[in-house]
Every structure is written in C-alpha cells, then in structure tokens.
C-alpha cells in the first residue's frame, strides 16, 4: 500500500462518485474520463503497462468520445431541471451499500487470499503478443469478429430511418 496507490485510488473513486452523482451529464462524462485515467494509473501501479495504455486508448480515446457524442445526440448536454434520480433510488442506494458491505467483509475476512506480496513479474509486450498469437488466438479471432459485428450492428441501429414522407408532404 504505497502512497501513490492510495492517492490514485482516491482520485479514481472520487471521480467515479462524481461521474455517478453530478447533475450535468457532460460533467459526468468528464469525471468518467478521469476515473478511467485513474484506473489506468492503477494498472500501471500494478505493473500492467500494456493494459494501462490500452485502457487509456480505449476508454479515454474511444468510449469517452462515444459517450459525449451520445450525450449531444440525445440533447442532454444541459443541466436538467427535473429530478435526475429514478423513483425508488433509495432502494438502489441501499442495495449497492449492502453489496459493498458484503464484498468488503468478504475481502477483509477471506482466508483464501495470498498473504505475501510477490515481486513484480517481468512481462514484456512481446510475451503478451506471443500468448495472443498462440494460446489465445481463438479468443482473439472471436473478439475481432465480435468487434466487427458490433460495429455493423451499431451503425445499423443508429442509422437514420429513411423518412416516410409521402408525396402529399404528410409525415406518416
């Protein structure tokens, strides 16, 4: 439990909490970016360099942009005047609190966790690449297929339907 870890963890959690609680959606999205950047830093702290950079590339570079685009396309960029919480939110909070309690209790009291801290494993990108191309080649292919399918699916779902205006100019 080093100091950088604690600082980064706090920033991450704070940003996550902000992302879930701010009223303005764009602020939420930006806080979300911070949270993911923090997570990437946590990965770096855990000696997972490749995963950390990939996290930034995917979440900050792609998903965050997607989210802000979605926010603007659904015209919810302004701070809403009505309630932002769903009815019955209190139950949701309660359930999540119970979930956290249970998880935390389990983590703290578990006897299965290893007690000693091993030295940092010497992994290079080359190792990851080799594994991806040998042991995990099938999942890699499937992921490629999945991404293609998701891309096509997303395009089709979000595609503007051809307007059904008939010749008299009435919208149907």
């Amino acid at each position: 439990m080093s100091l950088p870890f604690i600082i980064i963890a706090f920033v991450t959690l704070f940003a996550a909490a902000a992302a879930m609680s701010l009223r303005n959606l764009v602020h939420c999205a930006l806080a979300f970016v911070v949270a993911f950047a923090g997570l990437a830093a946590l990965y770096l702290q855990l000696d997972a360099q490749f995963v950390g950079f990939a996290q930034i590339l995917v979440y900050v570079g792609a998903i965050a942009i997607l989210i802000v685009f979605a926010i603007l396309l659904t015209r919810s960029g302004d701070t809403p005047n009505e309630a932002v919480l769903a009815p019955g939110w209190i139950y949701g909070i309660a359930v999540s609190a119970v979930v956290f309690t249970m998880l935390g209790w389990a983590v703290l009291n578990s006897s299965a966790l290893p007690k000693q801290t091993p030295p940092a494993p010497a992994t290079t990108v080359k190792n990851i690449g080799d594994l991806l191309m040998t042991k995990y080649v099938l999942p890699l292919e499937i992921i490629g297929l999945l991404l293609t399918a998701a891309m096509i699916g997303a395009v089709i779902i979000a595609l503007k339907e051809p307007s059904k205006t008939d010749y008299s100019g009435r919208k149907t």
Binding site: A86, G88, Y91, G92, V95, S96, V98, V99, M102, L103, A106, A112
Partner: protein, 702 residues
C-alpha cells in the same frame, strides 16, 4: 418453279393484311379502308392474271400443275404440310373471285356510303376475300378447311352485319349452324382421308391424296355396305359442299341470308362463297370419280357422282319452283341461286369438272350482276325490297334496267348471245347423255322453264308498268310531310351513282361475252381445264345431237319468257294488295310455293323440336341425376364436418383450453413482476449477488 407459284400466297394474304390494318385503325378512316380493300383486291387480280398466264399454253401436254408445300405443325412423329397449288382450276377461280370481288367492293363504296359501320364492313369483306382466296389456292385439305371456316365466319359476320335487326341476327345464326352441319361431314371426311392415306395434300408429286397411289389404296378398302372407302369419303366431303352451296336439304339458310347488305348477298351468296362448295367437289373430283365406269362420252359414273347428280337436279327444280311465288326481289334471286347451284352440281355429276365449273364462272358474273342490280334498285327505291311495291322503274333507272335485263336474259339462258345459255346448255347436254337415268335431264329442263318464267315475272313487276311505291307512303306519310318538307320527287326512285353503275356495266359485258369461251364449236374452257387438245370447229354446232338440244332448250326458254310476259308484263298489277295471278288461279299450289314447301316449318317441327327435347333431357339429367349426386356428397361432407366439430370442440379443445387458460392466468400473475424498468431488474440482480456471496461464504465454511 415459276415465281408466281412461289408467291401465290400473296393473293390471299394481301386482303388479310388489308383486313388487319382496317381493324386496328380508328373508326372514321373510310377512305383508307376502301382503298386498302379495293387495292388489295386489284393487286390480287393482277397476280391472278399472272397466275393465269402461267397456266396458259399447255394444251395437249396434260394439265399444268405446280405445287408448293412446306411443313407446318408436328403432331406425333408426323409433320402436317400446308401449301398451295397452281393449276387451271385455281387460276380461273382466282381470276373470278378477285375480279368479281373487286367490282363488288367498288359497288359497296357507293352502297354503304351512309352506313356508320363502313370500316367494319370493309374489314369483313377483305377478310372474306382472304378466306375465299385461301380456299382457292389450297393444296391441302387442312388449309382448305381453315380457309373454308374463315369464309363461314365472315359469312356469319356479314349476314348479321345489321345485328340490331332481330331477323338479321337470326339469319346469321341459321346460316352458321346449318353450314356447320355440312362442315361436320367435311371434317369427318378429312379425318378419314388422313387416316387412310396419311396425307391431306391434294397433289404432292405422286404422294398426294388425289393422286393415283392414294386413290388406288382407297378404292381397294371396303367399308359398310360394300362401298369403297373413297366413296364414303367423297360423300362425306360432299356433305360439306351441300352445306356451303345450299343444296337440298341444307338450303334453308341461303334465302334467309339475304338479310345482309346487298353487296354481301352478291359477293357471298351468289358469286363466290356458295360456289366454294361446287369448287370443293371440282377440286376433289378425282376422288369422286375414281373407279367409275367410263360412260359413252368419256364421263365416269360412280356412286358419289350419282348422288351429286341427283341432289343437284332435285335442288335445281325445287328452288326454281319456289322462286316463282316469291315477292322479295332478293329472295327470288336467292332461290334462283340455289337452283343454279343445283345445276352446277348436276353438271359436275354428269359432265365432269369443266361442265360444272363453266356454269359456275358464268353464273358468278351474271348473278353478281343481278344482285348488284337489285341492290341498285333497292337503293334507288329507298330500301324497298318488295317487288309488288315497285314497278315502272325503267323510266327512272335506265342504266340499271339495261344491265338488269342483260343479267336476266343470261340467267334465263337466252340463246346464242348470253353466257347462261351456253353453260346451261352444256349441262343439259351432258345430262341428256348420262347413262344412268334420264330424269335429271327432264328435271333440268323443267327448271330452265321455271327460271325463264320467274325472271320474266320479276323484271316485269319491277321495271314495267307504273310505280306503285307511293301508295303506301302517302297512306301514312301525312305527318311526316308536315315537318320534313321533303318534296314529292324525293320519294321517286332515282338512278344510282356512277360508282355503282360502272361495275354493273362491266359485269354486264362479261355476262354476255363469257359464254363464247365454252361453246361447243370452240370448247376452250373444257380444253383449258382438262388440258386436252381442241380446235375451232364450227361444224360441231350443227351436229344433230347438239343442235337438237340447243333448239329444244331455246324453245323452253322462249316458252318461259312468253308465259311470264303474258301473265305479268302485258297486264300489270295495279295495286300492291292485289292478288298474284297464279294465286288467283291455283291458290293451293301458290301457297305451297310461297311458303317454300313448308321446309322451315318441317324442320321446326322435327329437328328443332327434337333438339329442344334433347336439351330438356340433358337439363333434367343435370338437375336431378348429377345434381342429386352432388347434393348427396354435400350432405355427407356436412355431416362429417359436424361430427368433427363436435369432437374438436368438446373433446380436443376442452383440455387444451383449460390448460391455456391456466397458463394465461399464471403468466398474467408473473407478468406483474415485470415493471418494465431496467433498474428494478438491476436491483434484483444486486440482491441476488448479495445472496450469492452469502451462499459462497457459508458454503466455504461448511
């Protein structure tokens, strides 16, 4: 092969195209329609002249005959050929049909000028000409039959041209149905012929059905009553000719066909179509005459020819006697036509192709002349057809009178100068020499007497005396006078326009001149058709047999003419209602003749009654026997269906319905858990997660 043989098909196809173009045109294109129809006929006539020229100059070296055939349809393993033949018979008929047709077409332009269906009329006329020319050129019984039926169809269409008149519609139907009876025979004969010989081609370089090989085969096969197959087929084919040419007993349609426009009557029912039957017999003459005993004058005698002779002779006298007592100008001519067709048949039977065909050709011209003349008269008298209401037209219509007189004299057989004399004389001559019986000759002579008599009666009633048409019109025309302001003279008969009279004059010329190609002294026509050598020999005229017969027939004609003039010409009837001279003298016979021997009534009482009974019988069977069967099946089906429904409803569905109901209620209860809000589901998942963790921890401990 000469080019005209190859291109003979053009002659019928030209009017066919004309008909097609007229049919697809818009209605008011009158000039186009007339030009097309007449032009196609004129072109056809030119081509016919070429064809005729090709057939000339073959005397002495047999009959000129060229055929052109090609395969048409395949059935089974065999190909049906169609094709055309060019021989003197074809050529002469082509000339006659195209020339007379052309003149009649020209006449029609004037006659139909005021008809609103002018286009349709010319379309049908052209179509008719196409069919008729197809009949003429056909080298194949099949093509012949197809064209024959086209002719029948157009005949129907043209008789019923004024279909809004019920009588015209009925006449059209009558003509169509009656000729169908004959065509049935023709069709049967055709099928039988095909079955026997395997071909329907008339001439096919030795393989045709009219050539020696096939004829010999047919002659050897015997059928019912010991008759040769060829005889049976010949008689069946002759049945077709009987229908088409109006021979007894299928003559009834021809007088009724006068309901059509007069040019139609002239073209179809005098000059060409009815001649098709005669032409058919002439065409299949080898079939008819095969195996016959050659008589004294080189004429074969066979069963079929004997039948033809008798039918022809009976028709000739029968129709001529009816014509005596008719009052409708066209009807008189119609019965005259029937009678003359009888002569032609008789001529074919007793004297061969040349004798019958010669009368056919001459008759075509003078009968066309007479019909068109009568058309002119009718036209001039404001569509009046009753001879009793005419009279004195000589004064009003001099041209028509002149040509009509020529036609009348030709038909009556006025000696030496008119074609009818020569052709009829030849028939009587052959009949006189017929070895089987003398009765046809006597019947023919009587018929000639009647012919001269009724023609004189007609001309006397129509052209001499004073005009009687005003009587009736003035009787009920007062109100019309009040507002129509038509002058008195508009009711007078008037001469027809040149477009009508010029064809008449041309026809009159031919009615006189044509006789000279077939005199005993110069039998060119006979030589042309048979391909035999002949020479000009004036002495033949003065041979005892010939001269005697000529004198006898001249005497008969003069008797008829004199009798007619004595009874009708000298003492003209004064009023329309006045009784006929004959009626006054012999009311019973006159009644019989006026009502056409009650043939129609006999048919009504027998054939048609039987037909109606058969129809009623079929209807009864349909309604009660077959209908009952259907009804029974229906009730059985309904009963079974009712049973099934019962089972379905009270056994199968009951359990199923209950199950479904229970499922539906259960589902409805469960569906209340579905709030439709995702977040609720997520909450439940969270609770489940907690439960899972607790389970895992406890499970571990345990």
């Amino acid at each position: 092969m000469i080019w005209i043989v190859k291109n003979l098909w053009l002659i019928p196809v030209l009017p066919l195209f004309a008909a097609g173009i007229i049919a697809v045109n818009k209605q008011p294109a009158r000039k186009l329609a007339a030009t097309l129809a007449i032009g196609s006929m004129a072109l056809g006539f030119l081509l016919s002249l070429c064809a005729f020229a090709a057939t000339l100059g073959h005397h002495g070296d047999g009959v000129f005959r060229e055929v052109f055939s090609f395969p048409w349809i395949q059935f089974g393993g065999q190909w049906m050929d169609i094709g055309w033949v060019l021989d003197p018979l074809t050529a002469i008929m082509l000339m006659m049909v195209t020339f007379v047709g052309m003149l009649i077409f020209i006449f029609s332009v004037g006659y139909m000028a005021h008809d609103e269906n002018f286009m349709r009329f010319f379309c049908f006329l052209a179509l008719f000409a196409a069919g008729m020319l197809g009949v003429v050129i056909a080298n194949n019984l099949f093509l012949f039959f197809v064209s024959w039926e086209i002719v029948g169809l157009t005949s129907y269409l043209l008789i019923g041209f004024w279909y809004h008149k019920p009588s015209a519609a009925a006449a059209a139907k009558k003509a169509f149905i009656t000729t169908r009876i004959g065509d049935l025979g023709l069709l049967l004969g055709m099928v039988w012929l095909y079955a026997e010989t395997g071909t329907l081609n008339f001439y096919d370089g030795g393989k045709g059905c009219l050539e020696s090989g096939a004829l010999a085969t047919m002659l050897t096969h015997a059928t019912i009553g010991g008759m040769a197959v060829s005889t049976m087929i010949g008689l069946l084919i002759f049945l077709g000719a009987v229908g088409k040419s109006g021979q007894v007993p299928l003559h009834v349609w021809l007088p009724d066909a006068m309901e059509g426009p007069t040019p139609v009557s002239a073209l179809i029912h005098a000059a060409t179509m009815v001649a098709a039957g005669v032409f058919l017999v002439a065409r299949v003459y080898p079939l008819m005459s095969v195996g016959g005993i050659i008589g004294a004058h080189g004429v074969p005698v066979t069963t079929s020819l004997t039948v033809i002779t008798w039918v022809g002779a009976i028709t000739a006298i029968f129709a001529a006697s009816i014509a005596v007592a008719q009052n409708d100008i066209k009807r008189i001519l119609a019965y005259s036509t029937v009678s003359q067709l009888g002569y032609m048949m008789m001529g074919l039977g007793v004297g061969g192709v040349a004798v019958g065909m010669f009368h056919l050709i001459t008759h075509a011209f003078f009968k066309a002349l007479l019909f068109l003349g009568s058309g002119s008269v009718i036209h001039g008298c404001h569509e009046e057809q009753d001879v009793r209401k005419m009279g004195g037209l000589k004064k009003y219509m001099p041209v028509t009178f002149a040509v009509y007189a020529v036609g009348m004299l030709a038909l009556a057989g006025f000696p030496l100068f008119f074609s009818g004399f020569w052709s009829k004389d030849e028939i009587l001559h052959s009949a006189h020499n017929w070895p089987v019986s003398h009765i046809p000759f006597l019947l023919g002579c009587t018929g000639a007497l009647f012919t001269a008599f009724y023609m004189t009666r007609q001309v006397a009633l129509v052209f001499f005396g004073s005009y009687r048409g005003h009587e009736e019109k003035s009787a009920h025309g007062h109100s019309a006078h009040a507002h129509s302001h038509s002058s008195e003279s508009s009711h007078d008969p008037h001469e027809s326009p040149a477009v009508m009279t010029v064809p008449l004059i041309i026809l009159a010329g031919f009615a006189i001149l044509l006789g000279f190609v077939g005199t005993p002294a110069w039998p060119w026509f006979d030589g042309y058709l048979t391909g035999e050598e002949f020479k000009f020999d004036f002495s033949k005229l003065t041979e005892p047999g010939t001269l005697g017969l000529m004198l006898a027939s001249a005497a008969i004609v003069f008797t008829g003419l004199g009798l007619g003039w004595f009874l009708y010409g000298k003492r003209q009837r004064k009023t329309v209602a006045e009784k006929d001279v004959l009626e006054a003298a012999q009311p019973f016979i006159y009644k019989l003749l006026e009502n056409k021997y009650f043939i129609d009534e006999i048919y009504e009482a027998t054939v048609i009654r039987f037909n109606a009974f058969a129809a009623w019988l079929c209807d009864f069977a349909d309604q009660w026997i077959f209908g009952g069967a259907v009804l029974l099946v229906k009730y059985i089906t309904v009963g079974l269906a009712w049973l099934y429904r019962l089972t379905d409803e009270y056994f199968v569905n009951l359990g199923f319905d209950t199950g479904c109901e229970a499922l539906r209620e259960g589902g409805g209860g469960l569906s209340k858990l579905h709030t439709g809000r995702v977040q609720t589901y997520l909450r439940v998942i969270g609770v489940a997660l907690v439960a899972l963790i607790i389970f895992l921890i406890w499970g571990r401990k345990a």
